[in-house]
């Protein structure tokens, strides 16, 4: 257990050694034997000069600034509604330049292949004919949209904004845990955390040579504009939000503000003769590109869910007619399906004739009887996930579950094996975090970089690092008590470049 700190102005002792369990997980800051990794030296040195009070003070300033900016989600209570900030940790997570370069190449390769896969399955379906991916797995997936068959998508860029979840296992290698190709969120936290980190550790930031993330909004705008029809010289872009009650509303408003484009809701839009218009004070104004932050199911009650009040009637027909571009394209979810995930290395090989740069996590498909029996026999070692679910719902973390929970899950699993996959429990890498405003302790983290794909594919040199704030927890989702921290991607040293 972490010891209580002695108060006073003495420099903070080194992060509580006892809190680290050597050999259990890869730590981002400490190498084996307690040596500080080279790229962590500046921040480690800075932390050693700050008293616990000074750290707590900075943490408070940070939280206050988030509250003031309205980077909050609303908790609706019986008596009063309150606003909470997303827990944010002030100690940055650092990734060396060379390591990032490999991640970047791997992400671009992966998104390229997944976009080719989407273009194929919504086109000629060659990959299904060749039997590389089982036909029923794709066409039977809930996220497969028959309506998208043979729709023209500019640059064949179906997923324009992708947020992949990477994790670093015990061996220290990054692997892809999940691809998010629907409406990935979190990029505003990447930017807000960076803003906060610059103010918290200005001196360290300056000498660390961190690559900037601040270009994300204009890269996003350029990506969206590149999706517009070329005969529309100055395309009107808009961000479509479900509205102020959505938990990611802050992000929608933030991106719209930084891109300088209108933030629209379904009720602001009208479709007339297959053109999409927004209602302005001076009449109707045509929209060319919609960056939608509304799920497929809800964008058009005429095409998808009829009970949706969030979308626009007729939007999908306008899209099919080529008069508006919806980003991400509807139906991209089929490529980040947890069962299709198992085939991504094969998909990369099939389209690009390359090996995947970033490996997958070993995945057992419960639809295969042999793999199902292996999963059932090893439930205490595996993480089992529902194929269609996300956000940390509907999953079983075997080693952390009781025998009773495992038995109950086994029954569910046998009843509907096709709906589940299983993966070994990975000890995510740990990074130092300020806990309870006093102690620096390791917590498990993942990494969500953001990839943009339109005419070009670009990766922003930074990411959202999500943190499982509960001690020992491996679940980083914000809906399950996770927080986040800034991620510093360092420039490569000059000598390495020349």
């Amino acid at each position: 257990m972490a010891k209580a700190r002695v108060t006073g102005t003495a420099p903070a002792p080194a992060p509580t050694e006892a809190a680290y369990l050597p050999g259990v997980a890869f730590d981002e800051m400490y190498a084996e034997g307690g040596m500080v990794r080279e790229h962590y030296n500046p921040i480690h040195a800075r932390l050693a000069t700050l008293s616990p009070e000074a750290l707590a003070e900075r943490q408070k300033t940070l939280e206050r600034s988030f509250l003031l900016q309205g980077i909050t989600f609303t908790v609706y209570g019986a008596e009063a509604t309150t606003e909470r900030i997303i827990p944010t940790d002030l100690i940055p997570r650092i990734i060396p330049g060379a390591e990032w370069n490999r991640i970047e190449k791997g992400l671009i390769q992966r998104l390229k292949a997944l976009n080719m896969f989407l273009a194929d399955i919504y086109g000629e379906q060659q990959i299904l004919m060749d039997g590389v991916v089982p036909r029923d797995l794709v066409l039977g997936a809930a996220s497969y949209r028959r309506e998208m068959q043979h729709v023209f998508v500019p640059h064949k860029a179906y997923a324009n904004v992708c947020g992949s979840d990477l994790i670093r296992g015990q061996d220290g290698e990054f692997a892809v845990l999940e691809d998010n190709l629907r409406v990935p969120s979190g990029v505003s936290y990447m930017l807000a955390n960076r803003d906060a980190a610059k103010r918290t550790f200005p001196g360290t930031f300056r000498i660390a040579n961190v690559r900037p993330v601040e270009r994300y909004p204009d890269l996003l705008l350029a990506t969206l504009k590149s999706m517009a029809a070329e005969w529309r010289p100055n395309p009107q872009v808009a961000v479509l939000t479900p509205g102020v009650y959505n938990s990611a509303y802050y992000e929608h408003a933030y991106l719209a503000r930084l891109m300088g484009v209108p933030l629209v809701e379904g009720r602001d839009l009208v479709v007339h003769e297959n053109q999409v218009y927004m209602r302005t004070t001076t009449g109707l104004r045509r929209i060319d590109v919609i960056y939608r932050r509304v799920d497929d199911d809800f964008i058009d009650p005429l095409t998808f869910r009829r009970d949706s009040g969030l979308g626009v009637a007729g939007l999908f027909n306008a899209y099919r007619a080529g008069n508006v571009v919806i980003c991400n394209a509807p139906g991209t979810g089929v490529a980040d399906d947890k069962a299709v995930y198992a085939y991504v290395p094969d998909i990369i090989r099939y389209y690009l004739d390359e090996d995947a740069i970033l490996p997958n996590i070993e995945t057992f498909l419960c639809r295969e009887p042999a793999q199902l029996s292996h999963v059932l026999a090893n439930l205490d070692k595996l993480v089992v996930k529902a194929v269609g679910a996300s956000g940390g719902y509907g999953m079983l973390v075997g080693p952390h579950a009781s025998q009773k929970e495992r038995d109950e899950f086994a029954t569910v699993l046998r009843a509907d094996p096709g709906n589940y996959i299983a993966q070994p429990t990975i000890q995510l890498s740990t990074a130092p975090c300020l806990i309870d405003g006093a102690n620096i302790e390791p917590r498990h983290v993942d990494l969500r970089p953001f990839i943009l794909s339109g005419e070009k594919t670009v990766v922003t040199p930074g990411a959202l690092t999500r943190v499982a704030l509960r001690r020992g927890s491996l679940v980083v989702n914000s809906s399950q008590g996770g927080g986040s921290k800034d991620t510093w991607v360092l420039s490569e040293p000059r000598s390495a470049k020349s």
């Binding site: 509250l67 003031l68 900016q69 309205g70 009063a80 606003e83 509205g243 102020v244 509303y249 802050y250 408003a253 933030y254 719209a256 503000r257 209108p262 933030l263 629209v264 809701e265 009720r267 602001d268 009208v270 007339h272 053109q275 218009y277 927004m278 209602r279 302005t280 004070t281 001076t282 009449g283 109707l284 104004r285 045509r286």
Partner: protein, 314 residues
């Protein structure tokens, strides 16, 4: 070019912040005046509560409770707290359209009045609490003025402020000088409270010196050209804001809200206090209230809730 929904929200932010400021000031002046156990104090409480439409005059006997309800009542959509909450909710819905500086002022104020310890804070130091709300609202307006583009969005914000202000001041004057009321305010200290409620005491004194006369007050709060809380000033701004907004429209030859605003402005321009002495103030004050309501409707018909078939592309 701006979304109709956004214009709507900005307009309401303006109305709510003006309402919150006015109510805070009424409460503050009432609490201060009623520290004295005099007839003037009772009149001040009567003015404040009548001006917010509280018919239950028994509450005037308990000014602290009445002020607490006016400011902190979460169930009353017109309380200061709820006005600020609604202004902030509207601001959140158009967060992409207002500057960070403007947003932060309003958000900070909202967090302050909705904090768990806010009721205790009000109890401990009501006057300081109300004073801070008013000062924070001035900061909000200042931040909007200094950091927002003085374009369409800013005009809608101001339009809300000025329409609300004209109606609130008209209501306040009606309570004191209307013909239908049984009770006319004549007490000097009560009249000073009235001036304070309109934030007008100091400018009034510079104009008329310390001669506090109902006739002068009426003249000042209705017809002064330069005082920002006079009705003439507010209606001139309404007309100016709408003319500026109408310039951006291709108006298809329809009579818009700017015509109504021009007519109201002219009505105020050509009336004077002698005329009111002959006919009574109620007629003119009623005109201000109903015309502001018609302008409000015309703004909706023109900019926000217009029928789509009139605006479809040819």
């Amino acid at each position: 070019m701006m979304l109709a929904r956004v214009a709507d929200s900005l307009y309401w932010i303006g109305r709510y912040v003006e309402r919150a400021e006015h109510l805070s000031r009424l409460s503050d002046v009432m609490l201060n005046a009623t520290l004295d156990q005099t007839d003037a104090a009772a009149q001040a409480a009567y003015i404040a509560l009548s001006a917010v439409g509280d018919r239950d005059q028994a509450r005037a006997a308990k000014p602290y409770e009445a002020a607490l309800a006016l400011v902190m009542d979460r169930k009353d959509p017109n309380s200061v707290l709820m006005s600020l909450a609604l202004a902030r909710e509207n601001a959140r819905q158009v967060r992409d359209q207002i500057t960070t500086e403007t947003w932060e002022r309003l958000n900070l104020l909202f967090l302050k009045v909705t904090a768990d310890d806010a009721p205790q804070e009000f109890e401990r130091q009501s006057s300081a609490f109300l004073h801070d709300i008013i000062a924070d609202l001035h900061l909000f307006k200042g931040a909007a003025d200094a950091t927002m583009s003085h374009g369409e969005g800013w005009r809608f914000l101001l339009l809300g402020v000025h329409i609300e202000r004209a109606q609130l001041i008209a209501r306040l004057l009606e309570v004191c000088f209307g013909d239908t009321r049984g009770r006319r305010v004549t007490d000097r200290l009560a009249l000073m409270s009235l001036l304070r409620m309109a934030c007008a005491l100091e400018p009034y004194l510079r104009q008329y010196t310390a001669e506090i006369e109902p006739r002068y007050i009426l003249d000042f709060l209705l017809f002064d050209e330069d005082f920002p809380r006079s009705i003439r000033f507010a209606t001139a701004r309404i007309e100016e804001d709408l003319t500026s907004l109408a310039r951006r429209m291709d108006s298809h030859g329809r009579a818009g809200p700017e015509r109504l605003a021009g007519r109201l402005k002219a009505r105020l321009q050509f009336a004077d206090v002698e005329e009111l002495e002959a006919t009574g103030a109620s007629g003119l004050l009623a005109t201000v209230t109903t015309e502001c309501a018609r302008i409000h409707e015309a703004i909706y018909e023109t900019f926000v809730a217009y029928p789509l078939e009139l605006r479809l592309p040819a």
